[in-house]
Every structure is written in structure tokens, then in C-alpha cells.
């Protein structure tokens, strides 16, 4: 294959296929991942090619899915679990937080938990309640978990490879509104380390930091700002646990201004930690307080309101202006 242009959805599918081919211990589990190929078709064709023993349609019970994945991991398997939508991960929250995250520590390192929990997340797809949420902070706060989110097809492919290879549990957030965005994937490349941020646009006046679905919005905002003569750098965080603070710091030491953008509610969102820590690290560099653009302290609204609720170009530019006004 080498280099090919494909959608994020396809890149994820190819990545799963590769993992199933490479390691007989890799399993896919979840609701409707078999014949249907998942509601987003990320597992399309995999059960047909790898059989029901490796691509497993589960009973409709998320705690059971993650709990049995923990048991399978103890037996030496590497389950890749699909949660159908962001809002349906909560029945599994107990198993994730009290078991999956803590088992390695509880056993003083004597067992490992190579489990990936894939979660399509975020809004802007016109869905009904529970299908558009961004709960990443609720996982990033929990020690023992790693939390990542790709924003491009290449990262989708490689970060999922890396997550599956990791001996730690990884919560893998997939930006569902970007599933059909295309990009080049080089399956022979040497990938960036999983928990490293990446400068996706260089700039000198201000840094926009984002991950997953908001990277594209930030790139658009940076382009719009450029037209007004403002040079905005965009950092794709890629990982929410750990966060690559060194990477953000390097950018902020250059630009002296930072705006963090995510769909998740601002209050106690990942942006709060970035604001707090970057302020500590760059106290004398910052010309303005770290600003945050994100969801409101409100349940995700009905679809007809999501455009207003979600951070878009205008709200990001508004924050850029406010920051530059300091």
C-alpha cells in the first residue's frame, strides 16, 4: 500500500485490519461490529475476514464489554473495544475507572492491560441526545488511562496502531464528524510518538491548541486570521493524557499567547489543565491569560442548536482577538 489517500474511517479500518493480521491476540469487540461493521462501518468487513472468534458482536451491555475485555487481557489477549457513541460509555465507566485503569498498579506491575477503548465522539452530525458528547476530561483525570484523539487520516491509522501496541489501556477518541475527511496515509512511515503534539501551522502572534475535530476549525481560523495580518500557530495536541506540555510551552514561549479549543464544556475541560499548567510554566512569557473556547456548562443541546453551541470559526476568532487585545 505505502501511500494512499483515504478517509479517517477507512484509515481506522485499515489499522484494525493490520492489527488483526499482525497479532493473533488482537480482538475486536462491541455492539454491531460484526456483519454490520459498526454503525460507522469502522469494522467493515473484518468479521468476514477474521471470523466471529476475533471480531465479536457482544451483548448490549457496555460494562460487560469492558469487564470481559479486562478478563481477556488477563488471559493474554489485546481487545480493541468499540463503544457505539460517546454517550454510551458511562455504563462501562466503573469497569474503566476502577478496574481497567488500576489493574496494572494494583498488581504492582505484574499484569498488563493492553486494551483500547474506541469511542466516536463529538457533535455536528445532527444527532439525537447522547450521540454528540465529548467526555474526554472524565478519562484524562483518571490515572492509569491514556487518552488520545487523531485529527487526520494518517494519525488515525498510526495512532490506533500505537494504541493497540501499547501495554496500557488507551481511550481512543475518534472525531466522528471527521470520519469522511480524507488525507494521505503512508503505511510505511515512521510515525510520530503517540503522546507528542504537532505544530500543524506555524505562526508567531498566538498559539491555538486543539485536538480531534477542532484542529480543522483552528486551521480555518488561522487562515482567516492571516488574512487580517495575524500570524497564528496551530498545535494539534493529539494526546490528552499525557498532554505534551513541552510542545505547547515551546510554542507559547514563541507566540506569548495561547487559546485552547475543544468541543467539551470549558468548565473542567482539558483546556483548564492546559491553561493552569502553561500559565505556571510560562508566567513571565504570557502577554495575555490563556483563553479557552469550548462547550458551555449545559447538556449537549438538540441538533438544531448545535451550531451555536459548538466552537466555530467565529468563536475561535473572537478569542484570538480578545487575546491579542491584551
Amino acid at each position: 500500500m505505502a501511500v494512499e489517500k483515504m478517509s479517517i474511517a477507512k484509515a481506522l479500518n485499515e489499522s484494525l485490519r493490520k492489527a488483526l493480521e499482525t497479532d493473533p491476540k488482537v480482538l475486536i469487540m462491541g455492539e454491531d461490529v460484526g456483519k454490520l461493521g459498526g454503525v460507522f462501518r469502522i469494522t467493515d468487513g473484518l468479521q468476514k475476514d477474521f471470523g466471529e472468534d476475533r471480531v465479536i458482536d457482544t451483548p448490549l451491555a457496555e460494562s460487560g464489554i469492558v469487564g470481559t475485555a479486562v478478563g481477556l487481557a488477563l488471559r493474554g489477549y489485546r481487545p480493541v473495544v468499540e463503544i457505539q457513541f460517546d454517550g454510551f460509555v458511562f455504563p462501562a465507566y466503573d469497569q474503566i475507572v476502577t478496574q481497567l485503569a488500576k489493574m496494572h498498579a494494583r498488581a504492582l506491575g505484574k499484569v498488563k492491560m493492553p486494551v483500547v477503548v474506541r469511542i466516536p465522539y463529538g457533535g455536528a452530525i445532527g444527532a439525537v441526545e447522547h450521540h454528540s458528547e465529548s467526555p474526554e476530561a472524565l478519562f484524562a483525570h483518571v490515572a492509569g488511562l491514556k487518552v488520545v484523539s487523531p485529527s487526520t487520516a494518517s494519525d488515525a491509522y498510526w495512532m490506533l496502531q500505537q494504541a493497540i501496541l501499547s501495554d496500557d489501556p488507551v481511550i481512543f477518541f475518534e472525531p466522528k464528524r471527521r470520519y469522511w475527511d480524507k488525507g494521505e496515509v503512508d503505511t510505511d512511515a515512521i510515525p510520530t510518538a503517540l503522546h507528542t503534539s504537532r505544530v500543524v501551522r506555524e505562526g508567531s502572534d498566538l498559539t491555538l491548541a486543539a485536538y480531534g475535530p477542532m484542529v480543522k476549525v483552528c486551521l480555518e481560523a488561522a487562515a482567516a486570521a492571516a488574512e487580517e495580518g495575524k500570524s497564528v500557530e496551530v498545535v494539534d495536541l493529539r494526546s490528552m493524557s499525557p498532554v505534551d506540555f513541552d510542545g505547547i510551552q515551546a510554542s507559547v514561549e514563541k507566540t506569548r499567547r495561547l487559546v485552547v479549543v475543544h468541543e467539551a464544556p470549558v468548565f473542567l475541560g482539558v483546556g483548564s489543565e492546559i491553561a493552569a499548567r502553561i500559565t505556571e510554566r510560562c508566567f513571565y512569557h504570557l502577554e495575555a491569560p490563556v483563553l479557552r473556547v469550548g462547550g458551555y456548562h449545559a447538556p449537549y443541546p438538540p441538533a438544531r442548536l448545535e451550531e451555536e453551541y459548538l466552537p466555530g470559526l467565529d468563536r475561535v476568532l473572537d478569542a484570538v482577538d480578545r487575546s491579542l487585545a491584551y
Binding site: E52, V128, E129, Y296, A303
Partner: protein, 401 residues
């Protein structure tokens, strides 16, 4: 009654060669013996009307017959009308989704008898906890059908006051509502009322921890609740065998209350069995599980593509058991309805379709500021702050900034 002892059927999926070989010697073990005796018993449906529309009386349904002995020809026509109107409404909603007026629709096609039969068994003071597919039950509760469309259009998450018709909001997170129903029923019992509560859920939902916890709580507190499971054979793409290896109604026994399987395409049987279960609840006998054996004739939702996972023949076989045709045949055979009745229903259902179509098309989008409303009953400083900031942000555009 089809309350039976364990009937562990052969597992669908034999795992590993050694295991499969071992299974041959299974009859040596005492459990195998005990299980073997039960194995032959295929569960019987409680059925009062055959697919051809004939009334039946047999051992399975004898106990339930008294519960519909009062049903007149007028009542039967009423049930028929309910099903026709519901199907018409449901079809209209599917069409409206295709036209882009709704973001999604979850069709009840094929499940009209289960919903109308159970829905019409209820008293006004009973309380209903639906999933997202109970449009027929909503109809029985006099919830305006157009109200149901709001969440599928994306203008709200639930557009009605649950207490107006004792019909709770649609619940999307699978199984959650069974616990709400149980809690509500505990409250009914505390109040000394003789109302009952009914919780709807699907075959897939039966796997959720919450549903089984609802069974435990309702049994322990002897709560007046009926668990009404529409086993429509599918949970999106997964057949019921992915959820259980024995008939679902048997689940109840292990929690200490009766379970019964009813022909979910037979509106009369559903009415009778639900009335019986509700009476149990009213009389302080606690919970009952009703498994309505039915079929999801359409896709899971308008987003779904069932051709990927199920055969056309299966659907075709169920078409022969259509709940509406069955009652129509009965009405015709018994002379309980004439052509004029069916024609007037056609007109009436067309009018409903039209009304719904127009209502949807004129349904206003919510006000943007609604994002910040009804989050807290007593207010919240952060919401107030964000509301004000957002209003100022919006105003900055209007001022031409």
C-alpha cells in the same frame, strides 16, 4: 401459562476443538440430565388470534381469556383504528426523515399490536416509561404525535410534559428507564395508590445491568411494575441469540416473579396479558415480565441498513403475521366492521398524515438562548455567566463588529 423451568438450548457457538469434542460426553454429568429433560420444550406463545384472524382457545391462553371477555366489536374496531393510525403516523415520519425534515426516525413498523394492546390495557393513572420506539403507546396515552417528532427533528430532547399524560420522555440510553419505572412504582406503593407502572424495553436491553437491577429492586420491594419487553428479534444488527440463549420471558423466574411470552403481533393477546400483569401489580403481587414476541419489520432507524445483516426471507415470513391484517381479517370474518369503516379510517389516517406533515414543516427552531435554559431548576452562577457572555457575543455581531 408459559412459565417454565430451565431450558438451556444448545449454544450457538462451540468454542475450540477440544471443547466441542468434550461436549459429546456431556450426558454423563447430572446437569446435562436435568437440562436434557427441559430441552425439548419450545416456549409457547399466548395467542388469542391466529395470523389468519381466527380466535383460539387453548391451554396456554385459557387463564387470560377472562381479561378480554368484556371486549366488544366496538372495542375491536378501536384497537384496529389505533394500529392503523399509528402505522400511518409512523410511515409519515419515515417519509419526513427521507425528505430531510427529521434527522432520524425509529420506526415501530410491525410492533403495532404489542404497543396498542399493552397501551390500551392501561388506566389513566398508570404511568408509562417508554424507550424511543413507543409511538403506539404514546398514541394510546393521547400524546400528540407531532410532539414525538421534536427530538427526531432536533428541536428538543423530549417535547412533552410527562405528567400531562403519565407518559415519561423517551429514553435513549438502553435500559435506564426500567430503573426509573421501578422507583416510580416504589413511590406509587408508598402512596398507597393502586396505580401500576409499565416499563418498555427491547430484547437487546435485557443484557444491560440496569434492567437486571430493576428486576432485583422491583422483586425485593414488590413494586407494582410491569416489564414489557418487545422482543422484535433484533438489536440493531444483533439477533436475540447474542443476548440470551433461552427465551427472554424466562429471565423473570430467577428473580422471583412470573414471566410470560405473548404473541406480540396479536393485539388481543397483548391486551389480555398486559391487563393481567397490571392487575397483579394493582393487587400487590409485584412485578411481572411480559415478553411480546414480535418483529421489527423495518430498519433499526432510518440510519440503519438491515440488508447487511438479515435475510429478506425472514422479513417475508413475518409479513404473514402482520398485526393489522390479522385483526382486519377477524373484523371482516366476524362482520364486526364493514367497508365503510375501513374507508373512513383511510380518510382519517390520511388527515393525520397531513396534519403531522404540516406540523413538522412549521415547527419552529428553538431560540438560541434555549441552550442556557432549564439546566438547573434553582439556577447556577456559571450558567448565568456563560449566558450573559454568549448574549454579549451575539450582540457584538448585531452591532456590526
Amino acid at each position: 401459562m408459559t412459565v417454565e423451568s430451565t431450558a438451556a438450548r444448545k449454544p450457538r457457538r462451540s468454542s475450540g476443538t477440544k471443547r466441542a469434542a468434550g461436549a459429546a460426553s456431556a450426558s454423563k454429568s447430572p446437569a446435562a440430565k436435568a437440562v436434557a429433560t427441559a430441552q425439548s420444550t419450545e416456549p409457547q406463545l399466548v395467542q388469542l388470534l391466529t395470523p389468519e384472524g381466527d380466535r383460539v382457545e387453548n391451554a396456554q391462553n385459557a387463564d387470560f381469556l377472562p381479561y378480554v371477555s368484556d371486549i366488544t366489536a366496538d372495542d375491536l374496531r378501536g384497537l384496529y383504528r389505533d394500529m392503523v393510525m399509528t402505522r400511518r403516523f409512523d410511515g409519515e415520519a419515515t417519509a419526513l426523515q427521507r425528505q430531510g425534515e427529521l434527522g432520524l426516525w425509529a420506526s415501530l413498523l410491525g410492533q403495532e399490536a404489542a404497543q396498542i394492546g399493552s397501551g390500551r390495557a392501561l388506566r389513566d393513572d398508570d404511568y408509562v416509561f417508554p424507550t424511543y420506539r413507543e409511538h403506539g403507546v404514546a398514541w394510546c396515552r393521547d400524546v400528540d404525535p407531532t410532539n414525538l417528532l421534536g427530538m427526531f427533528r432536533g428541536v428538543n430532547h423530549g417535547g412533552w410534559d410527562p405528567n400531562t399524560n403519565n407518559f415519561h420522555l423517551y429514553t435513549i440510553v438502553i435500559g435506564s428507564q426500567t430503573l426509573h419505572a421501578t422507583g416510580y412504582a416504589m413511590g406509587v406503593a408508598k402512596d398507597g395508590a393502586d396505580s401500576a407502572v409499565i416499563a418498555y424495553f427491547g430484547d437487546g436491553a435485557s443484557s444491560q445491568g440496569d434492567v437486571n437491577e430493576a428486576f432485583t429492586f422491583s422483586a425485593v420491594y414488590n413494586a407494582p411494575v410491569v416489564f414489557f419487553c418487545q422482543n422484535n428479534q433484533w438489536a440493531i444488527s444483533e439477533p436475540t441469540e447474542r443476548q440470551t440463549r433461552v427465551p427472554l420471558y424466562q429471565r423473570a423466574q430467577g428473580f422471583g416473579f412470573p414471566g410470560v411470552r405473548v404473541d406480540g403481533n396479536d393485539v388481543l393477546a397483548c391486551l389480555a396479558v398486559t391487563r393481567w400483569a397490571l392487575e397483579r401489580a394493582r393487587q400487590g403481587e409485584g412485578p411481572t415480565l411480559v415478553e411480546a414476541f414480535t418483529y421489527r419489520m423495518g430498519a433499526h432507524t432510518t440510519s440503519d441498513d438491515p440488508t447487511r445483516y438479515r435475510r429478506d426471507e425472514e422479513r417475508a415470513a413475518w409479513e404473514a403475521k402482520d398485526p393489522i391484517l390479522r385483526l382486519k381479517a377477524h373484523l371482516l370474518a366476524t362482520g364486526a366492521a364493514d367497508e365503510a369503516f375501513f374507508e373512513s379510517l383511510e380518510t382519517e389516517s390520511e388527515a393525520l398524515g397531513k396534519r403531522v406533515r404540516e406540523a413538522v414543516r412549521t415547527m419552529p427552531d428553538p431560540d438560541t438562548m434555549a441552550i442556557f435554559e432549564n439546566i438547573y431548576a434553582d439556577g447556577h452562577a456559571l450558567v448565568d455567566e456563560e449566558r450573559a457572555q454568549f448574549a454579549a457575543y451575539l450582540a457584538s455581531f448585531e452591532e456590526g463588529n
